[in-house]
Amino acid sequence: MKPFTYLSPTTIEEAISFFGEHSQTSKYMAGGTDIIVKVKEGWMEPDFLISLKNIEEMSALHKNEATGELSIGALVTHAVLEKSLMIQNQYPIIYDAVSNIGSLQVRNMGTIGGNLINAVPSADGAIPLIALDGVALLHGPDGERSSEVKDLFIAPYKTILKPGEILKKITIPPQAPNTGSAYMKFGRRAAMELPLIGIGVLLTLDDDLTTCNRARICLGVAAPTPMRALEAENFLIGKEINEEILIEAGNMAAEESKVRDSVRGKAWHRKEMIRVYVKRMGLKCLEIIKNGA
């Protein structure tokens, strides 16, 4: 591995100033599970690695019980999310997604922020945060700004982050009552595998527990960046949710997707799995809502 100098700032301001001193030759590092591989392979040759691990506020996971807002620091590891009872009980879609990223060893190091910023088309971590209308807070040399998580991605491996900018945290707005959410990573094996397709569904029902008033259908590996199937979502609004309606929504989502052939699978297979899993995840949402009501 090419030698580098490791810098360990304790505040975001300090990290940004380190970056400013060596902007051409530095890289920020979160968990390191991707960046260390890239440096080892020679795909990336930074002279300075600026670790964000010692910036305490970036590792905070906190739900404000008064406002109902959830705040996930970008350096929160997948394992911390997976083990959190609050996440398991109140945000099952996040649990579904993070509990099958890589392996436990990777989840103990890898972070939700790193997963987003890598911006791979399959990012398991992005799908639930998009479904939950998550907002990313960015901090850079020019100050703070925010962006919806769904707008973070421009192309594979490319985000809207400017040089020197850091993803500080993701906030999730309060969830409406009668909301259920679920994610399925579909692949050939359970562990150490990128998904062939990732499907996240979130449904909010009216108090009658049958009529849909909000729907999110989010897909990974279905386009160059994580995407929402907006037509299918709109189709569900105002409808009485049952298996037939969910099958129709699944068909619409499959048509909206921009799936393609790759080494891991064929486009037609991905489309079929979108149909199947939009329905199944929709039914799982209904079950979650009924159990919670």
Partner: protein, 164 residues
């Protein structure tokens, strides 16, 4: 750049100079001669290099040595007692065919230890979930899961004995 770090390694306090770009795996194997921890893929895919850092199983091939500073590191070398008697997990892997060629075994056993330290009553599904990042090309995994379960039993029986 050279940096001085201190950490606990299998209960012993260690202070040493390291290069910033060294992985923990490099420090253990190449600098300290602790070759129980194996390098398989070197990319965090196979789990052969698994060690425990502050109670968490991690791939030491991706974990920078500099981040071991002030941490508690456990490796396979720390499991057996100083008199040579094996840890219950090691004994169970030997007795239940959890080891064939042996290359994955240190990583398998360290992942299992991290699991049982946190959740001594882990069921088969939880064991599978915790070991999913450790690849074995010999056993077909079943004897490995059985070894972990046998170790759970052994520990539970020993505890029962102490209470009598």
């Amino acid at each position: 750049m050279t940096t001085n770090i201190s950490f606990l390694l299998n209960g012993d306090e260690i202070t040493c100079d390291i290069q910033d770009h060294w992985t923990l795996l490099h420090l253990l194997r190449e600098e300290m001669g602790l070759i129980g921890t194996k390098e398989g893929c070197g990319n965090g895919e196979c789990g052969a290099c698994t060690v425990i850092v502050d109670k968490l199983a991690v791939n030491s091939c991706l974990f920078l040595a500099i981040e071991a500073d002030k941490k508690n590191i456990e490796t396979i070398e720390g499991l057996a007692s100083r008199d040579g008697s094996l840890h219950p997990l090691q004994q169970s892997f030997v007795e239940n065919g959890g080891i064939q060629c042996g290359f994955c075994s240190p990583g398998m056993i360290m992942s299992s230890k991290a699991l049982l330290d946190e959740n001594p009553d882990a069921d088969r599904e939880e064991i599978k979930h915790a070991l999913a990042g450790n690849i074995c090309r010999c056993t077909g995994y079943i004897p490995i899961f059985e070894s972990v379960e046998a170790a759970q039993k052994r520990v539970a029986e020993n505890k029962g004995g102490q209470n009598d």
